[in-house]
Symmetry: C2
Subunit: 253 residues, 2 copies
Amino acid sequence: MLPSQPNQALVDGLAVLQALAVSERPTGSREMGRMLGIEATRVNRLLRTLAHLGMARQTADRKYLPGPAMHVLSAQSLFGSGLVRSAMEPLARLNVYNLTVAMGVLWRDQVCYLYHATPGMSGADALGRVGLYPASRSGIGLSILASQTDEAIRDLYRGRPVDGFENVDALLVSLRETRERGWAYAMADEKTQTVSLGVAVGSPAYASVAFSGPITPEGTPLYVDTLQEAADAIERAATGGKDLANEPKRRRR
Amino acid sequence: MLPSQPNQALVDGLAVLQALAVSERPTGSREMGRMLGIEATRVNRLLRTLAHLGMARQTADRKYLPGPAMHVLSAQSLFGSGLVRSAMEPLARLNVYNLTVAMGVLWRDQVCYLYHATPGMSGADALGRVGLYPASRSGIGLSILASQTDEAIRDLYRGRPVDGFENVDALLVSLRETRERGWAYAMADEKTQTVSLGVAVGSPAYASVAFSGPITPEGTPLYVDTLQEAADAIERAATGGKDLANEPKRRRR
DNA sequence: GAAGCATGGTGCAATTATAGCACCAATTTG
DNA sequence: CAAATTGGTGCTATAATTGCACCATGCTTC
């Protein structure tokens, strides 16, 4: 996974881009440098490069904002790329159980929803209902986390609490069960007894589909089967029929 | 606009990222290198770096696809960032004239829609109806192009036809009028007499809002005023009250 | 199935682009 | 009006990148 010669400039540049994307207000180089732990001159040059590409633009006081090219990239990536496009149809077919249907990806220790349809909601409406949710409390999150190694999980949560679990070890136990079972179970809300069932898309997982609502143990097998079919359909459509290998064979000398 | 020390790695990396975003099927390093005119080894390392960041992922035959981090970035940028969020409310208020309401940004010589509401369509539905349209045939496109220099326009269209115009010079004449008038007029469809009126957001323009439909000369002033108000409102909300200067003063030694 | 070709990936040494200090010019704060 | 902070740039040591040559694998074509 780690490249032989990673391009640090690109790594930092994308970190700046991401920081820019989530910034609420115009941000200056030095401020962003402090946020990201990168030297200010470097940040300034990266920001200026991004501005030149249209990925950022500048206010009158020379601070930076996301630029038009960023919106183009986003729109193209989100709606033009395979995942969302090929997921729409399988996801729409899940809208038959009076449950919430969701698809999301993992971002750090959070789930980022790409599709989130409450019962009866149309597919078009379900797009763009974006939000972040702690991965450890979500069927989507747990099912994606389960495809990672214990070491990666420990790294991810090192130094911070695991929402919904006592500690990382408790999460790892749950992930081991998830791995064996092939699908994830999360109690999303104790009070309303809202349960979330997640099935990963792809292997290693890069996304996940889930039902959530007042799910009983009796209904679970049917729901899981349905989710699994949808996950397979999405994976097939998104990769153009070419499945991912479980572990792409590394080629080393 | 051109940085003193532009970061070429970031420029190429984002070119690769963009190419990846619009790729229909899994793409290999060499193929992408040929497409972008970048040496294959370099592309391979950029792709591997992107894969390490989760921006790309690999199929079993080691070709590359957009990765989960890309969808996160897109979702955050598109819905989390200022532009779309602050535009939703002003755009929804434009839905009173039985005309199509749109907002878009310029991408190369095309308009990329971020919002596209046919008469009566709800704001939520209007998001994500993304498509590309020749900039020279659209009120949005013309109004954004008008904020660029003649030289930039010539560069943009060098060696390719200008949709809807005889040649670049004819377009430049039209853009000069647009500049003086402060808003753009485009005959989007001769047969149905569909007209598109566009008003730029920001200065220099980074987006534009437009009405389109069977617009008569009598109605035009009212529509233009309404668009201008919306554009101002979006600009104010997106920049957090801090307006962009018409020309950010360059500071050179 | 051998031969040819194309592909993803890596090692290595030359070199080139970058890092960051010191500094400038604005702008804001006290 | 001084002090502090910020965006931005020049300059050079230096560290990161480039791209050739090459390997291993997979896919056609004989």
